[in-house]
């Protein structure tokens, strides 16, 4: 009854959470649900492994990935000394794959950040302002989505010149429309809800409504999408590296390593084999983590 009185009088607004018995914070609840998701936990462990490995690479990895060559140990098959074998210049593959982890993670993270920040911003504008802004941004999104992603990325890198920095931009631009669409539909569904009207009735301005109220509430699908996009971004960046448009030799980038090993595939398949397995490991890791996050953060999807 006390609750109803408050609601009727509307004098003393109380935090909603205060009424729930023994409530946990939303994050603690999400974590509880996440822990129940087996794929999420496996993904988290795999991503954690990748992050730790990439941080440790410059500290404890035994060789420098590009300068430590041994021409007497060229194209050696996997052995105790070189668990993944050596490449055409006698460099240790394990060591190069290990150092490549950091490159791929950084490229993926930066590219997804570009797509997420620009894409979500455009989506917020389109969904909240509507009218001609929505039409214009929708048009841009349709155009970007009309290009097959790899072709668009190749095209952008060709225009700006090959290299790891331009790869990040190209892969990021390709991701923009995904976030624009996602954020726009999120804003459209939230904008009509009563509590948004209430915040505006209480005098919140557009920016406050948008960034303090709508954005945090619609963040869940964006977080899930960002995790899944990390896998796609790593794959796209590796494809550019493979085509010679991304990282340049002697960088230990996985896609580039696969391309360099192509010429020796018949005699030394391990040169290309292990970087490929590393890519698969990383992409699977982020996909599993994304699935787990979806289960944890979106209670409706959790049946």
């Amino acid at each position: 009854m006390a609750v109803n009185d408050h609601a009727l009088e509307g004098v003393q607004p109380q935090p909603v959470a205060g009424h729930l018995p023994k409530s946990r914070s939303p994050w603690a609840q999400a974590w509880r649900r996440f822990r129940r998701s087996r794929s999420g936990m496996v993904g988290l462990a795999m991503v954690g492994f990748l992050v730790v490995m990439s941080l440790l690479a410059p500290i404890i990895a035994p060789y420098d990935p590009s300068t430590d060559r041994n021409l007497r140990a060229r194209l050696n098959p996997p052995s105790w000394e070189h668990p993944m074998g050596t490449d055409e210049l006698g460099r240790d593959i394990l060591n190069r794959v290990w150092h490549g982890t950091g490159i791929s993670l950084r490229v993926g993270l930066l590219a997804v950040s570009i797509g997420l920040v620009i894409g979500s911003f455009l989506g917020l504008l389109a969904g909240y302002l509507g009218r001609w802004v929505d039409t214009m941004i929708g048009w841009l999104t349709d155009i970007l989505l009309a290009f097959p992603s790899v072709l668009l990325a190749i095209f952008i890198v060709a225009a700006m010149g090959p290299g790891i920095f331009n790869t990040i931009i190209a892969v990021g631009v390709v991701q923009i429309p995904i976030y624009t669409r996602l954020t726009r539909s999120m804003v459209l569904s939230l904008r009509e809800q009563e509590w948004v009207l209430a915040t505006q009735a209480l005098g919140a301005g557009h920016l406050r409504t948008l960034f303090r109220h709508i954005l945090p509430n619609g963040l869940t699908p964006v977080i899930v999408q960002a995790t899944l996009s990390l896998g796609t971004a790593i794959l796209d960046a590796a494809a550019l590296g493979f085509l010679g448009l991304g990282a340049q030799p002697p960088a230990p980038e996985w896609g580039l390593m696969i391309a360099r090993g192509f010429a020796y595939f018949a005699v030394a398949p391990w040169i290309s084999l292990f970087p490929g397995l590393a890519i698969i490991f990383a992409v699977v890791a982020f996909n599993l983590l994304g699935d787990g996050l979806r289960d944890a953060l979106d209670p409706r999807a959790n049946r």
Partner: protein
């Protein structure tokens, strides 16, 4: 219905316009002057200027403000490189290659069947492997078969296509010697062109050996290209089947004594088809246009490889025309898939 289709097609016009603007701009950002590329570094400045004028390169990029201010006519405002490009596209002229002088539209038309054949191969792989795998996984949920299918599709979408292609070449062409590693036909084998679809052409002319040769060449690239759609189709089929299998009419069909086989394949799968068709349709668009990596690895003479090589050689007209062509196919196919929902699902009505 037809009004709906018409509206969707009209809605494509601004997108196609925007695409040409984007392609045009990106191509102009690629460093290097086409006139110098065509004539070589040692050409006289006069010759370069003459060629630039011939290629419209002396005009402003988007709007000819100078001419407009001078004359005040709108016709002069659009006397620019972009509008010249737009005009020639509308006439079906995508320009000529800088180096070989071959007509871009003609060459694209000649290469389209190769890419199309490859995409069909990829989709067949996806349907023949993905659908049965998804059905089996759904019927025996949480069994070993389900775990295998689910994890295989997890790895399928994570696999770099170029890496998988190399692995296939190594195992089946180099190591086992079962299948050819690259190209569309063995050297010495040729099929007179009717449609450009090699398998179809050789079958039409009764050249069974050539048809078999073409099929053998198609298998590995189709497997590589089909991996991602196979994984998606299997996942989609599993999900759709699980949903359908839990419904009342499936229980009724079982209750009235129909065999499990009949219930699954006739009753359930038929109703689970809509999401599968959607995935297949959308995949077909991306296979047709996203085969660049596969075509490069398997040396497949399709559109994607041609455009990729042209980017390396800075052959702008090919890059420009080819990319635009591919993107246009992509949007048209996606629109058709969208429209086709109405045919497959009578519950969907478009106003």
């Amino acid at each position: 219905m037809s009004a709906f289709i018409l509206r969707r097609l009209i809605g494509l016009i601004p997108v196609l316009l925007g695409m040409s603007l984007l392609v045009f701009t990106l191509v102009r950002l690629i460093p290097g002057d086409p006139a110098i590329l065509m004539l070589g570094e040692r050409a006289t400045p006069a010759a370069i200027e003459r060629l630039q004028a011939q290629l419209n390169l002396d005009k402003p990029l988007f709007l000819n403000l100078a001419a407009f201010q001078h004359s005040g006519r709108v016709g002069d405002l659009v006397d620019s490189q972009f509008f010249a490009f737009l005009g020639s596209i509308l006439r079906g002229d995508l320009g000529q290659s800088i180096f070989t002088r071959v007509d871009v539209a003609t060459e694209l038309a000649a290469r389209f069947p190769a890419t199309f054949e490859l995409a069909v191969g990829g989709i067949l792989v996806a349907l023949l492997i993905g659908v049965p795998a998804g059905v089996v996984a759904a019927m025996r949920k949480n069994s070993l078969a389900d775990v295998v299918v689910t994890s295989a599709s997890l790895f399928g979408v994570a696999m770099p296509i170029f890496w998988l292609g190399m692995l296939l070449i190594y195992i089946f062409a180099v190591h086992l010697g079962w299948l050819p590693p690259s190209g569309r036909l063995s050297p010495g084998v040729s099929v007179p062109r009717i449609t450009g679809f090699l398998i179809l052409d050789s079958l039409l002319q009764g050249q069974w050996a050539a048809a078999w040769d073409a099929i053998r060449h198609l298998i590995l690239p189709a497997l590589a290209l089909g991996t991602i759609p196979t994984a998606t189709v299997a996942r989609m089929t599993r999900g759709a089947m699980l949903e359908v299998l839990g419904q009342d009419y499936v229980r009724t069909a079982r209750a009235k004594g129909l065999s499990t086989l009949r219930v699954t394949w006739r009753h359930a799968l038929k109703n689970a088809m809509l999401p599968i068709i959607t995935v297949v349709g959308l995949s077909f668009g991306s296979l047709l246009t996203g085969a660049i990596l596969t075509e490069t690895i398997f040396n497949w003479p399709g559109m994607g490889k041609w455009i990729y090589d042209a980017i390396g050689a800075r052959d702008y007209p090919i890059v420009q025309g080819g990319t635009l062509f591919i993107a246009a196919i992509y949007v048209v196919i996606n629109t058709l898939v969208d429209v086709s929902y109405a045919f497959f699902d009578p519950r969907i009505r478009y106003g």
